[in-house]
Assembly symmetry: C2
Homo-oligomer: 228 residues x 2
Amino acid sequence: MSAKAVVLLSGGIDSSTTLAIARNENYDLYALSFRYGQKNRLEVPAAKKIARTLKVKDHLVLDIDLAAIGGSALTTDIPVPRERTDEDILGDIPGTYVPARNIVFLSYALSWAESLGASDLFIGVNAVDYSGYPDCRPEFIEAFQRMANMGTKAGAEGRPFTIHTPLIRMTKAQIIQKGIALGVDYGLTQSCYDPSPRGTACGVCDSCVLRKRGFNQAGIPDPIVYDA
Amino acid sequence: MSAKAVVLLSGGIDSSTTLAIARNENYDLYALSFRYGQKNRLEVPAAKKIARTLKVKDHLVLDIDLAAIGGSALTTDIPVPRERTDEDILGDIPGTYVPARNIVFLSYALSWAESLGASDLFIGVNAVDYSGYPDCRPEFIEAFQRMANMGTKAGAEGRPFTIHTPLIRMTKAQIIQKGIALGVDYGLTQSCYDPSPRGTACGVCDSCVLRKRGFNQAGIPDPIVYDA
């Protein structure tokens, strides 16, 4: 029997590649996605397709109410920033930052892992293209792991959790090359912060810009359609 | 203008007293409660009454799906343990432990605090009568605070969060005496893990046992009705 791993899966490039990496390491996969009031309503359907193609044991989709908490362009009427310069994208913490989102997501992953008897969690955070999100930094992941092992029954009883971040030091191009090598179908993935009603990616939000550049630098054609 | 504080409020003795303490320290109060699939459906109505009497600025009640994750007697068909010995109550981590529950609750409190521009969070955890819950220990709270200040925009930008745990070293009797001094109406509070359909407390679960003993030791009559 393989060990179980809980993998956070948004349906974008990074989390889909992370799921493929966990599969390649022979874990039994338990994918976790959220409907959290995000403008991108296509994320969860994309996550479902990815989870199916990568043969997860279970895929849990939780409805959580981060929109009630507010504070982000991804969940409120605050506009998603578009056509920003590189300096802007890499330099500050943007309006698309959802307060403590990865902390909430990892907390649920931890709760599910403890309930399943899993010790391994995977999250596709990335400190290279991370657009200034503090919850993508290695120091944060280490602090979360330490806290998790203090605050859970499993941790207190000597069955510690490990938070795996296989992408944390990779460029977007390297991530895409890795995923292609592992057979990820990026045509199923969704990256845009705010896609059009017919489901096409805007091409100009930070997430689209980083994705297009990643495919370009990897020398691989992006299989999805953009508005711009 | 007073500083804002987010206070986790379950509607029991500890969280209600914590709310009164935060009020006494002149914070503007933002109470946060959860419907998380707990058997005690009277917690949230109790929390609403307490929040009203303590004049909170806002009371957010979030529906979250910890029952989908399973693993606890508080949210599943696993029976709530009753009539346990003191050794049992204080010695192990009981079946009423909800995997990573306080971690999930604190993550939401952090998200809301960041959205509100609040730097102070209050949680009524207690390391004396804590029934072996790992997420009530001071080391855990310190680790959570550290993680929160690594993983949030506010923390990264030098506006750190403080997690206040005013009850952590108090006995239940001391907590009750403090609350009475601050005018908390414990007749509005709900402590039972699994109350009867008509709303009375069972009197024999760990939570009822600790509550009854606390009032007894404080020399104060408990204003609620018990089945046993």
